[in-house]
C-alpha cells in the first residue's frame, strides 16, 4: 500500500484515495490526421514499461480530484518525486521524460 504525497493537498495520503492514470508526459499529437497509422498506433498503444524509475500520472480520486505526476521506482515502489502536470521532469534519467 503506497503512501503518496498529493502536491495539492500537501500531505501524504494512502493509496486508497488515488487512482493510477497511466504513463506521464505522453502528449497528444497536435494534428492526428497528419500521422501515419503506425505513428498514431504508437501514441495509442506503446508505453515504456520501465523497470526502475518511471514517470506516471496519478489522480487524487477521493481527495481533490487533481491529476499529477509521480516518479516511482517500479522495482522498489519508492516514490522519488511528485510534481504538477505541466512541469517538466527534474531530470531525464528515465526512459519516459518529456
Amino acid at each position: 500500500m503506497l503512501r503518496i504525497r498529493c502536491p495539492y493537498c500537501e500531505e501524504a495520503r494512502s493509496e486508497e484515495e488515488f487512482a493510477y492514470a497511466g504513463e506521464a508526459h505522453i502528449r497528444r499529437p497536435e494534428d492526428p490526421e497528419a500521422l501515419s497509422d503506425r505513428e498514431w498506433g504508437e501514441y495509442l498503444h506503446f508505453r515504456t514499461n520501465a523497470r526502475g524509475p518511471h514517470r506516471e500520472m496519478w489522480v487524487h480520486a477521493a481527495g481533490c480530484r487533481r491529476y499529477f505526476n509521480v516518479l516511482r521506482d517500479t522495482v522498489s515502489y519508492e516514490i522519488l518525486d511528485v510534481y504538477p502536470i505541466g512541469k517538466a521532469p527534474s531530470d531525464d534519467s528515465t526512459g519516459n521524460g518529456a
Binding site: M1, L2, E33, W40, Y43, Y67, Y77
Partner: protein, 1002 residues
C-alpha cells in the same frame, strides 16, 4: 481426568479460576492463564494429532506460533475456526477443540513408500496416473474442517497511523516502545501473545534489580500512560507491505463468547480485528525461535524444544515429562535442565554436541548434579507412542559423523536445542533476502532502506542484556527518524545477571549409523512430513535452487511456514549439494506470517455493506409501491412495479402500453449529470463529443457519442446548453464517474489553457421522466411558468421554471420515442415533486415504470444502450450512428483519427441490426450462425445484444451485432440456444416502432 503433570505451585496461572473445556470430546480442566497446549500437557496428553502424510503420532513440540502439530478446530458449528495452534489458544470456559486432522486422515501410512518427495510433480507428468491417485489423495489430504454455516461472528478493521510500530513486546520490543514513547512519538506496539513480555514471562532472573515480571508490569504501565501509545495484545503482525503498511490481526476471544479470560478487557464487538497500520518506522522485535535438531524419529511425542519445556515449566507450572534428556549445541538450553531438577524432576543427561563445553552454564549444570555428556548427540528417539529412550552417540569434533558406538538412555522427554533462528519473516517480506552468518549460525536480516529496523534476538542478539540494549537503541533511533528526540536512549539499559555465552556448535542433521535414506525418518518439516531423505532425494534428482526444492518436497509449505524447519532444510540441502549455506540461501517469505481468517480480511464489508447501495430521493416511494429492483452500478433502480397477481412480463407490458398510450413516469435520477461552464465550454465539448457543439443555441439539447482515442464508443447522452457559457451533460448511469474522470483528465492534463470547469451534479438533481401522449397535460397541472406547447417548448429544448412550486429544469428529450418531459429538481425536494406529479397524473392513470419497460421502449425504437449493445469494441459506424459524427470540426474530436484505421473500415465488422425471431424471446448474448447444423468449427456471425417481448408489437424483438449486418437485411441466421436448438432469426432494421419519430414530436 487428573493433571499429573501440573506442579503444585508457581506459574502465571490463576489457580482460583479453574476452567472446564473439552478436547476431542474429552472433558478436561485447566486454569485461567493456561493455553490449550499447557492444559493438555498438564493432563499428560502425549499424542495430539496424526501426521499429515504418514499418520504417525505427534505431540506438542513448541509453546507458541512455531507449533507444527497441535493444530485444532476451535469451536463448533458455524462459529468453528479451523487450523488454530493450541499453543496460542487461551483457555476459556466451555472451549471445545478438536484435532484438525481427523483420525482416519493421514492413512497413507503403509503406502507412504509409494509417495516419495515430488510425488505430485511426478504424477502431473502423467495425467492418467494423476487421475488414478487423485480420488484417493483428496480423501486423505487437507487440514481442518469446514464451518457448517455462515459465520455468526463479526469482524472489523481499524486504521492506525503512527511514527513507530514495534512488532513484538518481548524485552527488545518493550525497550524499543518505551524509548519511542519517551521521545514523544506516536507508537503502536503489537504482540501475538495475550500478555506483553515475551520470553520475560518465563524469565526467572532479575531485570533491573526486580523480578522480570514486575519489570514488565512497570514498563507496560508506563506505556499505557502515554496517550499516543496503542498497545495491541493477542495481535499478530501478519504482513509488512510497501511503504510500511502493516496488517495486524487482533484476536478478541472474549468477544467470541468467552468472557472470563483473565486480564482480557471488557470488550464487545468484533471477534477479530484487522488493524491497518501506516507506520513511519517499523521496529521488528520479533524474537527468535529455537531450532530443533533433526535426528531419527525426532517426531515422537516427547521430543520438544528446550525453550518450550522451560516456558511450560515456569509460565504454566507444567512438566511435560518426568525424566529428561537435554540435547543441545549451545549454552542457552542448559537452564532448562537445571530448572527441571529444581522442579523435582530428573535429568538423565545433558548431551552437548560441543567437544569441550565450558563456561557458566556448564558449571551450573555440574553444580546441580547433572551429568553432561559432551561431544555427543541424540541420534535417534525410540518408543512406540512416545519417547522411551534416547540413543546417544559420540560425534566427531568438526565433521558431522559418528566416532563410536551408540548407547541408550531411558527417558520420556527429549528437550532439544540446535540454536536459535531469528524470526525474519516480516523483514524478508520487504523483498530483501536475509544473509547467512556462520558466526551467528543463523540467517540475519539485511536492511532495505532505513524505515524498517530490528532489535533483540530478531537481529541476532543472543543475551537478555543485548536484547534490552538493542531494543532501546532501535526505539530511540526510530523515534528520531520521525522527528522525535535526538536518537539517544533515555536511560541505561536495565541490568540482568545473565552470564556471557560461550560459542555454539553448528549442527542441523544429526548423523546416524545409517544414511538418511536408510535410517528411521529424520523429520525436517513436521507439519508436512518432509524428511532429510526427501531433501537429499530432491538434490539427487537435480534440484539445486532452494525455491525449487521447497516446492518439490513441500518443505515449509504448511501453515507453519518454515518456522522450525527452514534453516535445517537449507542446511541439509547445502550439504547434499556440496556447498555452503550462504550460497544456498533461504526461501522467500511472503505474507501472511500466520494464517488469517477470511472474516478478518472481510471485516464489516459483508452482507449489505459488501457493496454500497445508492438510493435516489424517491427510493422510499418505490419501496412503498412494492417495486422489484435492478442493480445498475451501485444504484438501486425499480425494475418494474408488479400489481397483485402480476408476473414480470405482465407488469412490463402494462407499463410499456401506458407510456405509449397514456402517461407513465420513470425515476431517472441515476443518470450521470455534469455541469460544464466557462468561456471555452463549447470548445471543450466539441473535442470530447463526436457531435458539434459550437452552434448549439441556448435552451437546446444535442445527443453525442463519446469515444476513446481508439475510436470505440465509451458513452453517450444528451447535453443541454443552459446559458451562454454553461452546459449540462448527461451520461449513462453506470459510466457517470468514468466520464467525469475522463473529462478531468483532458481538462487538466492536455488542455489546461481552456477556460472550463466540470462539476458533478448527479446527486444534486432528482429526475422524473414523464412519458406518453398525456404527459403534457399532467405536467401542465403542476407547472404554470413554462409554456409547454409544442412550438414554444420544442423537442430537444430545455426550460427553467417551477414544478409543484419547486425550482426546476425541464428537458424535452426522449429515450422512449414518445412525448416526454424530464423534470429535474434539487434532490432534497425530489420526493415532494414526485408525489405532486403522481397526484396530478392520477386522473390519467399515471403508471410508474421501471428499467425493464424503459429497455423495451428504447429497443422498440432501436436506441442503443452503451455497455449492452456495445462491448467496448464498437465504433459509431458499427452502430449505424454516423449521423452523430460531425467531421471537419476545428480541432476534431477524441478518437476521430482512429475511425480511419484500416481495421475500423472493414466491411465485415460487427454491425448493429434488428433481429426478428418469430415467437421466442432470444437469449441475450446468444451467438448467431449461418447454418444450423454444419460440422464444427461453425463461423460465428454475431450475437444477440438485447431481446424483449414488445407489448406494442405483440411479438418478440431483438437487437444484435452481425458481421456486415446492414448489408444483409432479410437474411436468415440461426441462433444457437444452450439446449442445443437453433432458432431461425431474420436480420431487420433496428427501428421497430415509429421509424419517422412522429410520436416524440407532438
Amino acid at each position: 481426568m487428573g493433571t499429573p503433570r501440573r506442579l503444585p505451585s508457581g506459574g502465571r496461572i490463576d489457580r482460583d479460576r479453574p476452567i472446564a473445556f473439552s478436547f476431542n470430546r474429552r472433558e478436561m480442566r485447566g486454569f485461567s492463564g493456561d493455553t490449550l497446549a499447557s492444559a493438555l500437557l498438564a493432563h499428560g496428553v502425549a499424542t495430539v494429532a496424526r501426521s499429515f502424510k504418514y499418520g504417525r503420532p505427534r505431540g506438542i513440540v513448541g509453546h507458541g506460533v512455531e507449533e507444527p502439530n497441535a493444530i485444532v478446530d476451535l469451536g463448533v458449528g458455524a462459529a468453528m475456526t479451523p487450523n488454530v495452534r493450541a499453543t496460542e489458544i487461551e483457555l476459556f470456559a466451555g472451549l471445545e477443540a478438536r484435532t484438525s486432522r481427523a483420525p482416519w486422515q493421514g492413512a497413507v501410512g503403509p503406502l507412504a513408500r509409494y509417495l516419495p518427495a515430488g510425488f505430485y510433480y511426478k504424477m502431473f507428468l502423467h495425467a492418467r496416473g494423476f487421475r488414478t491417485w487423485e480420488r484417493f489423495l483428496r480423501a486423505t489430504a487437507g487440514l481442518g474442517g469446514v464451518p457448517e454455516g455462515p459465520d455468526p461472528d463479526t469482524y472489523d478493521h481499524l486504521n492506525h497511523h503512527c511514527d513507530v510500530l514495534v512488532v513484538g513486546a518481548g524485552p527488545a520490543g518493550l525497550a524499543a516502545a518505551l524509548e519511542a514513547c519517551r521521545a514523544g512519538a506516536r507508537v503502536v506496539l503489537a504482540d501475538e501473545q495475550a500478555e506483553f513480555g515475551g520470553s520475560l514471562l518465563a524469565e526467572t532472573g532479575p531485570v533491573d534489580g526486580e523480578h522480570a515480571s514486575s519489570w514488565v508490569a512497570r514498563t507496560v504501565a508506563e506505556l499505557e500512560s502515554h496517550p499516543d501509545a496503542v498497545l495491541l495484545a493477542r495481535s499478530t503482525v501478519s504482513g509488512l507491505y510497501d511503504h510500511n503498511f502493516v496488517t495486524v490481526v487482533e484476536r478478541r476471544p472474549d468477544a467470541a463468547g468467552a468472557p472470563d479470560v483473565a486480564g482480557a478487557p471488557d470488550v464487545a464487538g468484533a471477534r477479530e480485528r484487522l488493524h491497518r497500520v501506516r507506520a513511519g518506522q517499523v521496529v521488528l522485535a520479533t524474537g527468535a525461535i529455537e531450532r530443533p535438531l533433526v535426528f531419527a524419529n525426532n517426531d515422537l511425542p516427547g521430543v520438544m524444544l528446550a525453550s518450550s519445556v522451560f516456558t511450560y515449566l515456569h509460565r504454566y507450572a507444567v512438566v511435560p515429562g518426568e525424566r529428561m534428556v537435554l540435547c543441545t549445541t549451545n549454552d542457552s538450553a542448559y537452564r532448562t535442565a537445571i530448572d527441571w531438577v529444581g522442579a523435582g524432576r530428573e535429568v538423565a543427561a545433558i548431551v552437548d554436541a560441543r567437544p569441550e563445553p565450558s563456561g557458566a552454564a556448564m558449571q551450573a549444570a555440574t553444580r546441580a548434579g547433572i551429568e553432561v555428556i559432551h561431544g555427543h548427540a541424540v541420534i535417534e528417539a525410540r518408543g512406540r507412542k512416545r519417547v522411551r529412550e534416547a540413543v546417544v552417540a559420540p560425534l566427531h569434533g568438526e565433521d558431522d559423523r559418528l566416532t563410536g558406538p551408540p548407547r541408550r538412555i531411558g527417558c520420556d522427554l527429549i528437550a532439544c536445542s540446535g540454536g536459535w533462528t531469528p524470526t525474519l519473516h516480516l523483514a524478508a517480506q520487504t523483498g530483501v533476502k536475509p544473509r547467512w552468518s556462520d558466526e551467528a549460525i543463523a540467517f540475519l536480516p539485511v536492511p532495505a532502506g532505513d524505515a524498517v529496523t530490528w532489535a533483540g534476538s530478531a537481529g541476532g542478539a543472543r543475551s537478555l542484556p543485548a536484547c534490552l540494549q538493542t531494543g532501546a537503541a532501535a526505539g530511540a533511533m526510530a523515534a528520531s527518524r520521525t522527528g522525535h528526540g535526538e536518537g539517544r536512549v533515555s536511560a541505561e539499559p536495565p541490568e540482568t545477571d545473565e552470564p556471557p555465552e560461550t560459542p555454539s556448535r553448528a549442527l542441523f542433521l544429526v548423523p546416524h549409523q545409517r544414511p538418511p535414506s536408510r535410517a528411521p525418518k529424520q523429520f525436517v518439516d513436521l507439519q508436512l512430513d518432509v524428511t532429510a531423505a526427501d531433501i537429499e532425494l530432491a538434490a539427487r534428482e537435480g534440484y539445486e535452487s532452494v525455491e525449487h526444492v521447497k516446492r518439490y518436497t513441500a518443505l515449509g509449505f504448511g501453515t507453519e511456514q518454515g518456522k522450525l524447519g527452514n534453516v535445517n532444510g537449507v542446511a541439509i540441502l547445502a550439504r547434499a549439494l556440496g556447498q555452503d549455506i550462504a550460497a544456498t540461501g533461504t526461501t522467500m517469505f511472503r505474507p501472511s506470517y500466520t494464517p488469517v481468517t477470511f472474516g478478518a480480511v472481510a471485516g464489516r464489508d459483508v452482507g449489505g455493506f459488501f457493496d454500497p447501495e445508492r438510493r435516489t430521493p424517491m427510493h422510499g416511494w418505490h419501496e412503498e409501491q412494492g417495486a422489484e429492483w435492478e442493480d445498475v452500478g451501485r444504484w438501486k433502480r425499480p425494475r418494474y412495479y408488479p400489481k397483485a397477481g402480476e408476473g414480470m412480463q405482465d407488469a412490463v407490458n402494462r407499463e410499456c402500453l401506458a407510456a405509449r398510450d397514456g402517461v407513465a413516469i420513470l425515476d431517472a435520477s441515476t443518470l450521470g449529470k455534469i455541469d460544464i461552464q466557462g468561456a471555452d465550454a463549447h470548445v471543450f465539448l466539441d473535442r470530447i463529443y463526436t457531435t458539434g457543439f459550437r452552434r448549439l443555441g441556448v435552451g437546446r439539447c444535442r445527443y453525442g457519442l463519446m469515444l476513446h482515442e481508439d475510436g470505440t464508443i465509451f458513452d453517450d447522452g444528451v447535453t443541454a446548453r443552459i446559458a451562454g457559457h454553461r452546459y449540462l451533460m448527461h451520461t449513462t448511469t453506470g459510466n457517470a464517474e468514468a466520464v467525469f474522470d475522463w473529462l478531468e483528465l483532458w481538462r487538466q492534463t492536455e488542455w489546461p489553457d481552456l477556460d472550463v470547469y466540470c462539476t458533478s451534479v448527479t446527486d444534486h438533481w432528482a429526475t422524473a421522466a414523464l412519458v406518453g401522449p398525456k404527459s403534457r397535460e399532467v405536467l401542465g397541472r403542476v407547472c404554470d411558468d413554462i409554456d409547454l406547447s409544442r412550438d414554444a417548448f420544442r423537442f430537444m429544448d430545455v426550460r427553467e421554471g417551477h414544478v409543484a412550486g419547486v425550482p426546476a429544469r425541464v428537458f424535452r428529450i426522449s429515450f422512449s420515442g414518445e412525448l416526454s418531459f424530464e423534470v429535474n429538481v434539487p434532490a432534497h425536494r425530489g420526493r415532494e415533486v414526485w408525489d405532486a406529479l403522481i397526484e396530478a397524473g392520477a386522473e390519467f392513470d399515471i403508471t410508474p415504470y421501471g428499467t425493464e419497460a424503459m429497455h423495451v421502449l428504447r429497443a422498440e425504437k432501436g436506441f442503443i444502450i452503451v455497455g449492452q449493445d456495445t462491448d467496448g469494441s464498437m465504433t459509431p459506424a458499427d452502430m449505424g450512428m454516423d449521423w452523430a459524427v460531425r467531421r471537419n470540426k476545428p480541432f476534431g474530436f477524441l478518437g476521430e483519427r482512429s475511425l480511419s484505421l484500416p481495421d475500423h473500415l472493414r466491411e465485415d465488422r460487427l454491425q448493429f441490426v434488428g433481429l426478428a425471431s418469430g415467437d421466442a424471446v432470444l437469449p441475450e448474448g446468444a451467438p448467431l450462425v449461418e447454418v444450423p447444423d454444419g460440422a464444427p468449427p461453425i463461423p460465428n456471425q454475431g450475437f444477440v445484444s438485447s431481446a424483449y417481448h414488445s407489448a406494442r408489437l405483440s411479438r418478440p424483438i431483438a437487437l444484435g451485432l452481425v458481421r456486415g449486418g446492414r448489408t444483409r437485411l432479410g437474411e436468415i441466421l440461426h441462433c444457437a440456444l444452450a439446449d442445443g436448438r437453433n432458432l431461425p432469426v431474420t436480420i431487420v432494421d433496428p427501428v421497430f416502432y415509429d421509424p419517422d419519430g412522429k410520436a416524440q414530436d407532438v
